[in-house]
Each structure stands twice: as structure tokens, then as C-alpha cells.
């Protein structure tokens, strides 16, 4: 297999899973002939037709809610929200219905479905095409949350999500959609466990934890650190619910210094949870306070599209503070 981009990995995994399992259907705005505005569903319409690649009305509540009703009836829907910023009209369906169905029905009904959504900034999309809403999902009991950063992780985790018996919110870092190419796995059952982080680099001086779009800047910062003779340990969380506490805590316990990088707004974000958990679980191992490098608590701006993101410079400054402590 040739190397593909992340968005191609999405399309290919969808194709493979649809070919394997007739219960898998794809739905969303413009997922049909248009192939999705990012082409994440390209060619699926031609191959599987309108019954399995469903162009929906412009209504995220209908998309998320109807996916639930299909899942309950035996299908395995993969719904696309065109931009994560547009999940809010479907938020009630997601948090009030999808997340709780297994629980409130005592297991009589379940919601094996995936809600995919491109998220994050850096594409000059202005506020409503740039947000990172993962904290809302991670805070919602009953949802699994995945946020990969590479084509192959996307393949393995999207497959796992489709085969999962519970609802999975699948966030895709849109500014990395075409950033790199990678070989996918040929094994038609290749899947990565939801909840398992990846170690991107092993090191001893500082732990860098990130996920999704911010992995790119985090890895750039790590390269710069290596050049400076500093040895970073880099963790890509990949899943946020459940998240790999073990991987983070053991690394921090060993290294004693940690910088958490995410472009989502700072307050009550997912990295707040990681920071709090570190303090609560491995306090005595800490040689410096955990540091967060995040998006500020402003709406996502347009003119400062790049500056909003935690770039390598801000990450390096935080590492320096942690090392100097």
C-alpha cells in the first residue's frame, strides 16, 4: 500500500469497514456526491449508493439523533459533523440521548455509533471553523473520545471506534489532514485499542503530553529540545476518554517534569484534568509544577489564527520554566 494522508486514511478505513460489514452506513452533510467538504468520504457514494452514504438535511440534531435511532435498530452509523464547531445544534442529542442510552435503559438499548468531526485551528477559518471542543465530550459520561494525530493511528482508531459497542466521538485535526503521508496497515482487522497512548519519543528530562493537532507543534518543539541537548519524552494521548493515565503517570513519575500542550481553551479543559491527575497521583515525584500550554480563554480569533495556537516557541518557553524551576 502506498502512503496516504490522514483524510485519505479516514476514507479508506470507512471503505474497508463498509465493505466488511453491511451494517456500517455513513451520513452527514455533503458526504454523498460531494464526498465530504474535506473529501473524507470520497468515492463512497459511487461505491455504496445513497442507502449507505446518506446526504442529510442541514441539521446536526438530525444527524446525531438519527444515527442513534439507526444504531438502536441494528446499523453501525458513522456520522460526520462538517466542522466540530457545528456539533452544538446536535449537542443535546449527543449528551442527553447518545451518551446515556445504555445507562438509562439498563442496557436494553445501546448506541454503537461514531460521530466524526474535523476539529482545531490553523486553517484561517475564523472562530467557527477552528474550535477544539473535546473537553465537552470528555466531561460527558458515556462517550468515548478519540483524537488521533497520524494517518495510521486514524486507521487503527477509526476501525476500533466503528467496531466499538459504545458511542465514540472521533475528532480529526483538520490542519493535519494533508500534512503528512504514512503507510497504512494491510491487515483488514488492524485496530488500535481506544484508551492507549503512543510514546512518540523516549526521554529523561521533561515529559511532553499532547494530542490531535497540537502534536505537530509539540513534536517540532521536541526536535528543537533535542538540538539543544535536552531529552524530551513525548506522549501522544490519542484517546481522551478513556485516557492512558498509566502512560502519563509513569513517565512523569520517572522524569519529574511535565508540559501539557493543547490548543483548546485553558480553563476546565481536558489538560486541566491531566494536570490535576498528575498532581493528585504523583505529587512527590514532581520536580517542578506541571505546566500547561494551551489556547487562551478567548474565542478563536481570525487575524491571529496562528498566534492563538500553542506554537513551538511557547512550548519551549514552558519547558524552560519547568527545567529552571
Amino acid at each position: 500500500m502506498s502512503a496516504v494522508t490522514m483524510v485519505q486514511a479516514v476514507a479508506r478505513t470507512l471503505d474497508e469497514e463498509m465493505a466488511r460489514d453491511p451494517r456500517v452506513v455513513v451520513m452527514g452533510e455533503d458526504v454523498g456526491k460531494r464526498g465530504g467538504v474535506f473529501l473524507a468520504t470520497e468515492k463512497l457514494f459511487d461505491k455504496y449508493g445513497p442507502d449507505r452514504v446518506i446526504d442529510t438535511p442541514l441539521a446536526e440534531a438530525a444527524i446525531v439523533g438519527a444515527a442513534l435511532g439507526m444504531a438502536v435498530h441494528g446499523l453501525r452509523p458513522v456520522a460526520e459533523i462538517q466542522f466540530a464547531d457545528y456539533v452544538y445544534p446536535g449537542f443535546d442529542q449527543l449528551v442527553s440521548q447518545v451518551a446515556k442510552l445504555r445507562y438509562r435503559s439498563g442496557g436494553q438499548f445501546t448506541a454503537p455509533m461514531v460521530v466524526r468531526m474535523p476539529a482545531g485551528g490553523g486553517v484561517k477559518g475564523g472562530h467557527h471553523h477552528s474550535q477544539s471542543p473535546e473537553a465537552h465530550f470528555a466531561h460527558t459520561a458515556g462517550l468515548k473520545v478519540v483524537f488521533p494525530s497520524t494517518p495510521k493511528d486514524t486507521q487503527g482508531l477509526l476501525r476500533a471506534a466503528i467496531r466499538d459497542d459504545d458511542p465514540v466521538v472521533f475528532l480529526e485535526p483538520k490542519r493535519l489532514y494533508r500534512a503528512v503521508k504514512e503507510e497504512l496497515d494491510d491487515d483488514p482487522d488492524f485496530a488500535l485499542p481506544i484508551g492507549k497512548a503512543a510514546e512518540r519519543r523516549r526521554g529523561d528530562d521533561v515529559v511532553l503530553v499532547s494530542y490531535g493537532g497540537s502534536m505537530a507543534e509539540t513534536l517540532r518543539a521536541a526536535d528543537a529540545l533535542v538540538e539543544q541537548g535536552i531529552s524530551p519524552h513525548v506522549i501522544d494521548l490519542r484517546s481522551l476518554a478513556p485516557w492512558d493515565e498509566e502512560a502519563v503517570l509513569s513517565a512523569v513519575a520517572r522524569v519529574g517534569r511535565v508540559v501539557l500542550v493543547s490548543e483548546a481553551p485553558h480553563t476546565a479543559s481536558f489538560m486541566s484534568e491531566v494536570s490535576a491527575t498528575i498532581a493528585e497521583e504523583v505529587l512527590d515525584a514532581l520536580l517542578a509544577p506541571p505546566a500547561r500550554v494551551t489556547g487562551p480563554d478567548t474565542p478563536y480569533p481570525y487575524a491571529q489564527d496562528r498566534e492563538y495556537l500553542p506554537g513551538p516557541n511557547r512550548i519551549l518557553r514552558a519547558v524552560q520554566r519547568v527545567l529552571d524551576y
Binding site: V25, D51, R52, I54, T56, P57, A59, E60, A61, A62, V64, G65, A66, A67, L68, G69, M70, A71, V72, H73, G74, L75, P77, P89, D92, Q93, S96, Q97, K100, L101, R102, Y103, R104, S105, G106, G107, Q108, F109, T110, A141, G142, K144, D165, D166, G195, P242, E245
Partner: protein, 367 residues
């Protein structure tokens, strides 16, 4: 896309009725129901009323934390239930539909157990009273957020269409529900897909205290069907036969591939919105009394009596039976016991993630 051989017109000026207040058939077509079916309808209405009253009593005794009275909705609900194929068609009900669920066949002990919060509830007492559901009967578990079940209902209907299963999805709700965005999104999607769904409004004129005039600019609910390119039927929901026949037709229409419809059953709620409500704050007593004079049970009893299918004796015997049944169900539901504290950690996911295992230990003091 209108089927032939239909009995009823959509968008009528007046609600469709086939039986007048005196209990006379005015349907203009041949009644094709067996006597046993007719008495079954009546018995189910009576049962709904008995269960409603008895649950209310349990609430006042403090055994049940909440009730949402269904008095006045019985004809509509029994009509809907009998137009469906139980266990085959899907139902997305709302909290006031206890009578509908019973008529569909859900075991009384499950309903009572759900409201008592015991393990007789197949949903493990996870929700407040009046929020039942049944995997066995394809009855989607009631959720409190109004209209949030409408997009899922659309999804199930679309799935039925894709599967060519010949099943139909019935989705019920109140008049207030039609104002929610989720209601619109769901009904519209079903309409765009021509899915086999029947959306049914039990219009009792109020959403808690808010009357129709503040709810929407339209004079009725069924006209909203225009927005979705589907027929809208305006029906006297105090007439069990009208409710049944119109539902039967709407369901047949959906089953035969002619798409969804919207049915408005005009009813009245005799009681407060719920046990937490004081409806005298907003509803004139005279209005309540006037509707009570149009009681659906009385009207249908007259109809049966004219056909010598019912009398005082049967009434008394049936009431006795239904009362005993309820008493036995309460006993059985109570004996099932309440679910253990630890069970609150089950069913969040198929498996129990590490974080939840830890939280369970901490909460139970085992940490």
C-alpha cells in the same frame, strides 16, 4: 404521493370523529372491528385510568416520587397502541404514555417497578418514574428532554426503510414538544427520506402552563405537516375509534412505502401536569369541567352499551380485576427490591473502565 382507498382526508377544518358524544357511529364507512376488539379497547382505557389513579395514590403516599397523569389521554393512547404491531413496529413514546404502553402489552409489573424504582424495572431503576421502555417490545426508553426522542425515531424509521423490513416507527409527543428544534430536525429528516414513521401529537392544549396561543402561531399542530411535505391529520383524540382508524391508516400508509405523516389527536389532561404541578394557577376550573364532560371512557361506554357489549356488571367486575392486578403488581415490584448502590456504575459502557472502577471503590469506601 397519496395512497388510494384512504378513508380520511388530511388537513380537515374540524377534527376527524367517527363516534359522536352520544356514542353513535358516524364514521361513514363500515366498522370492521370484532366485538372482542371493541371491548378490549374499552378495557385498556379503563386499565389506563385505574393504573393512573393508583400510581397517583402511591405518589401521595410517598412511595412513588413523581407521576404525570394520563387521564383524558386514554382514547388516544389506546387507539395508537392497537393500530400498531406490537414487538414488530417501534415506538418512541413520551412520559405521559403509560396507558399506551400497557395497551401495547408491556407488563404492568415493569411499569410499576419502574415508577417504584425497584429491580422489577428492566432498566434497573436508572430513571425517574414515568420513564419506562422495553427492549423486548421495541419501545425506546423515555427520556425527559422534550422532543429529544424525535430525531432518534426518524433514524429508526430510516433504518427500517433501508432494511425494507415492513416495520413502522410511531413517535408520540405533546403539543409543547413541537416547538423544540429537535422536533423539527427529526420530523424533517424523516420527511426528506420518506421514512415509515408516524409522528403523533397528543395535543392537550398545554405545555405545563403554557397554552397553545403562546406556544406557536399556528392554530393547530397537524398543519405543521405542510412544512415537511407530509399529510397532517386532525383527529378527535377523545374518540378512541377515530384515533384508532386514523392511526391505522397512517401506519398502513407508512408500511406500504408512502412515507411519514403527522397525526394530531386532540385531547385534554384532566390532572395537573405532574404531581409537582398546581394547574389551578393557570387553568380555569370551568375549562377542566367542560372537558371532563366529554370523557372518552363515558363516550365509548355508551357506544358499547348501545351494542350490548358492556354493562354495569362488566364494569364493576373489570374494575375489581384491574384493581387486583395493580395490587399484585405493586407487591411483585416491591419484592424485587432496590438495586444495590454499586450498580450505579454499570452500563455506562459495555465494560467498566479503570477510572470508573476506581471511583466505585472510592464511593463505596473501599478506596
Amino acid at each position: 404521493m397519496i395512497r388510494e382507498s384512504q378513508l380520511f382526508e388530511p388537513f380537515t377544518e374540524e377534527p376527524i370523529s367517527v363516534m359522536n358524544e352520544a356514542g353513535e357511529w358516524v364514521g361513514g364507512f363500515d366498522l370492521d372491528l370484532e366485538p372482542e376488539t371493541l371491548t378490549r379497547f374499552y378495557r385498556d382505557m379503563l386499565r389506563a385510568r385505574v393504573v393512573d389513579e393508583r400510581l397517583g395514590r402511591l405518589q401521595r403516599q410517598g412511595k412513588v416520587s413523581f407521576v404525570a397523569p394520563g387521564g383524558g389521554h386514554e382514547a388516544a393512547q389506546v387507539g395508537i397502541a392497537h393500530a400498531m404491531r406490537a414487538r414488530e413496529d417501534w415506538l418512541y413514546p413520551y412520559y405521559r404514555d403509560i396507558g399506551l404502553l400497557l395497551a401495547l402489552g408491556l407488563p404492568l409489573v415493569e411499569i410499576v417497578g419502574q415508577s417504584l424504582g425497584t429491580s422489577a424495572d428492566p432498566a434497573k431503576a436508572r430513571q425517574m418514574p414515568y420513564h419506562p421502555g422495553s427492549g423486548e417490545f421495541n419501545v425506546f426508553t423515555v427520556a425527559s428532554p422534550i422532543a429529544s426522542h424525535v430525531p432518534p425515531a426518524a433514524g429508526t424509521a430510516i433504518s427500517q426503510k433501508l432494511a425494507g423490513s415492513g416495520e413502522v416507527t410511531v413517535c408520540t409527543f405533546g403539543d409543547g414538544a413541537t416547538s423544540e428544534g429537535d422536533w423539527h430536525a427529526g420530523v424533517n429528516f424523516a420527511g426528506a427520506q420518506g421514512a415509515p414513521a408516524v409522528f403523533v401529537c397528543e395535543n392537550n392544549g398545554y405545555a405545563i402552563s403554557v397554552g397553545m396561543r403562546h406556544q406557536t402561531g399556528s392554530d393547530s399542530i397537524h398543519v405543521k405537516a405542510h412544512a415537511y411535505g407530509m399529510p397532517g391529520y386532525f383527529v378527535d383524540g377523545m374518540d378512541v375509534l377515530a384515533s384508532y382508524y386514523v392511526m391505522r391508516e397512517a401506519i398502513a400508509r407508512a408500511r406500504d412505502g408512502f412515507g411519514p405523516s403527522l397525526v394530531e389527536l386532540v385531547v385534554y389532561r384532566y390532572g395537573g401536569h405532574s404531581s409537582a404541578d398546581d394547574d389551578s394557577r393557570y387553568r380555569p376550573r370551568a375549562e377542566v369541567e367542560q372537558w371532563k364532560r366529554r370523557d372518552p371512557l363515558t363516550r365509548f361506554r355508551r357506544f358499547l352499551e348501545k351494542r350490548e357489549l358492556w354493562d354495569d356488571e362488566r364494569e364493576a367486575a373489570t374494575l375489581q380485576e384491574l384493581g387486583d392486578e395493580f395490587t399484585a403488581a405493586v407487591k411483585q415490584a416491591e419484592e424485587a427490591g432496590v438495586p444495590p448502590v454499586a450498580s450505579m456504575f454499570d452500563d455506562v459502557f459495555a465494560d467498566l473502565p479503570a477510572r470508573l472502577r476506581k471511583q466505585r471503590a472510592e464511593l463505596l469506601g473501599e478506596g
